[in-house]
């Protein structure tokens, strides 16, 4: 790595130190007229365009004819847009069904994780009780447990309670265990809230549950938003568990699982495949672009915690 910059790498946005006029927040033109800065910016811009080229290519491929995809090299503009690729992927291959499955499974998983982590995080963050240390120890031990390690017993358990090949089975498999980070985020947040809030509620005659649901949980909205965002991402994109749970029940496939099945069953339909990929990636990317600040802050905040 070469020396990346002649300028300071600065932290948050602070006011310039007195007497150091050179680090005044610059206008765009001033930023770009420094040769070093311009070079770095252009380098970053080119890298970023290469970075997102696969997505641009994918959208263009989804509008091309079969032979055009591989015949046109790097060319991105389709001769005439073939919108039928989308209707084919949507109805013939069953992506309407897969889309609905993804929505149900993602929604259920996120809801389950929010409710159970908020409840557990609240008592973990604010109260002492017998077994607390043991619980935290188990959380920390299992924090990095890989998915591949637990999948066989999870399938066997789900089979025994009769939920294999159901939406509920997938939701429980994704949301009931793991997800330590969400619980710890809630615990950290609740432990920082002033004690008086709860005492007031109690003196007004609210029980433990009313205090929690009507006073504490609404206060924790910033953390709830973070947990929803991170776990929406997780549940929408997860692959191994939904794949294994639906091996014998194609009607339950999620978008991610449906995509890879597409290859086996329709191996020559590349343009349909590209359209299907766009359909599958679009919702999560749209949500991300709409909420990108919150997304990035959530992740940075979770890391700092």
């Amino acid at each position: 790595m070469s020396a990346p910059t002649r300028e300071r790498t600065t932290g948050g946005r602070r006011l310039p130190a007195p007497g150091r006029g050179a680090i005044r927040p610059d206008g765009l033109r001033a930023q770009l007229t420094r040769p070093g800065s311009l070079l770095i910016f252009l380098g970053l811009l080119i890298a970023a365009l290469i970075w997102i080229y696969p997505f641009i290519w994918l959208v263009s491929a989804s509008l091309k004819t079969q032979p055009e995809i591989f015949g046109s090299g790097l060319g991105l503009i389709p001769e005439t847009p073939v919108w039928e690729n989308y209707s084919r992927a949507w109805t013939v291959v069953g992506f309407d069904r897969y889309f609905l499955n993804s929505v149900i499974i993602t929604g259920g998983t996120v809801l389950l994780i929010v409710v159970r982590s908020a409840l557990a995080g609240y008592v973990l963050g604010r109260y002492q009780f017998v077994g607390k240390k043991l619980l935290i120890a188990i959380f920390l031990i299992t924090f990095f447990l890989p998915e591949g390690y637990t999948i066989i017993p999870v399938v066997q358990l789900t089979d025994q309670i009769g939920l294999l090949n159901t939406h509920l089975g997938v939701i429980l498999g994704l949301g009931a265990g793991g997800q330590v980070a969400a619980t710890l985020l809630y615990a950290g947040y609740f432990s920082g809230l002033p004690k008086e809030l709860e005492e007031c509620a109690r003196l007004d005659g609210a029980g433990h549950f009313r205090t929690f649901f009507q006073v504490m949980l609404p206060l924790a909205w910033p953390i709830t938003a973070t947990v929803i965002i991170l776990n929406f991402l997780f549940a929408w994109n997860v692959y191994l568990l939904p794949l294994v749970f639906t091996l014998s029940e194609p009607a339950l496939r999620t978008l991610a699982v449906g995509m890879s099945a597409f290859i086996g069953e329709y191996s020559t339909d590349w343009s349909g495949l590209a359209a299907a990929a766009v359909i599958s990636l679009l919702p999560v990317m749209a949500v991300f672009i709409a909420l990108q600040r919150k997304f990035v802050d959530s992740i940075a905040g979770a890391v700092k915690q």
Binding site: V154, G177, L203, L233, Y239, A256, S280, L281, A300, K304
Partner: protein, 323 residues
């Protein structure tokens, strides 16, 4: 009136302010509602995390063909078979090669990017960060499928590389046993670089401006400043970020499975694909044997996590308790 007083005293006691009093049973009875709050997590965690953790060990000692209701105990036979199974060691080695290449690339490139994007004078930082972050939110399994198209012999990447003179003739990196694993590394780094960049940006912002100003006043050149000031302050983060990325690299199933399927000829079969193939993909699924492989895989992961946890403590001490 007395009831209210009791309630507030209860609250103080359960908040841990009052000295512990009473027997275990009394405390459990008084805190019944706490355990009710914990119930969903205790049940869910017990069934879907703790039970699988223990059950995997038990399954590893069973001969258990899939479709059968239960296995029969065969002692350490599965492990003996694993030790002699070339395909298992092949997947183990592939996973290690993947880790050794992908993790340093992801961590290092992301740090470089974060430093450039942390400069005050880089314009459009927000937009650039968004562009680099975009692949992170996408579905790994779908990215895997899409890259089989992109990396095809007549696909855009091959065409571009021939055009730039980097390749003599078109090549399909996914379909050749010499390159399939490395293609996986490249796509994985591409997909996840953005999130590591955000970790690094969060880390860089913990360094106070004064530190940089002092270095500038002392006449430190940028590279000197990076080496002797920024980097030492970042070491605790380096260890944590490396740990997060390492665990991520062990969970590479979705991308590798949909991109190469572990092939050609097992050249890109990582441990998770081995487990999946043995447990669910084979004509005669072997749940016990796959569990034994999963147990060894889990031990490897735990070992890496412990090694890095030790590393964090060491780094904290070496840098004088900097957080």
């Amino acid at each position: 009136m007395t009831a209210t007083l009791d309630k507030s005293r209860d609250l103080a006691a359960s908040a841990g302010k009052a000295p512990r009093q009473g027997g275990l049973w009394r405390r459990l009875r008084k805190d019944w509602w706490i355990y009710l709050f914990l119930l969903p997590t205790l049940v869910g965690y017990g069934a879907y995390t703790v039970y699988p953790l223990v059950a995997s060990w038990w399954f590893a000692f069973l001969d258990w063909p899939g479709f059968a209701d239960a296995g029969t105990f065969i002692g350490i036979e599965n492990f003996e078979r694993l030790v002699g199974d070339d395909l298992f060691w092949n997947s183990f080695r592939n996973s290690l090669v993947f880790l050794a290449l992908a993790v340093p690339l992801r961590v290092g490139l992301a740090l470089f990017l974060a430093i450039l994007l942390n400069r005050k004078r880089t314009p459009f930082k927000g937009l650039l960060r968004t562009l680099f972050f975009l692949p992170v939110v996408t579905t790994g399994a779908i990215i895997g499928v899409v890259f089989t198209l992109l990396l095809d012999g007549s696909g855009p990447i091959s065409v571009a590389m021939v055009g730039l003179g980097l390749l003599d003739s078109p090549a399909n990196f996914v379909a050749e046993s010499g390159t399939s694993l490395y293609a996986g590394v490249a796509v994985w780094v591409w997909k996840w670089l953005g999130i590591t960049m955000i970790y690094w940006l969060a880390a860089l912002q913990t360094i106070p401006d004064e530190v940089h100003e002092a270095a500038m006043l002392d006449g430190a050149r940028p590279w000197q400043e990076f080496r002797s000031i920024t980097l030492p302050l970042l070491i605790p983060f380096l260890v944590i970020i490396t740990l997060i990325d390492t665990v991520g690299a062990l969970n590479v199933f979705d991308l590798m499975y949909t991109m190469t399927g572990g092939g050609p000829a097992f050249s890109s079969e990582v441990i998770e694909i081995f487990i999946f193939r043995t447990a669910f993909g084979a004509t005669v699924p072997q749940l016990g044997y796959a569990s034994a492989a999963a147990v060894l895989f889990g031990v490897l992961t735990m070992g890496l996590a412990v090694a890095q946890a030790v590393g964090v403590r060491w780094a904290r001490r070496a840098t004088g308790g900097m957080k």
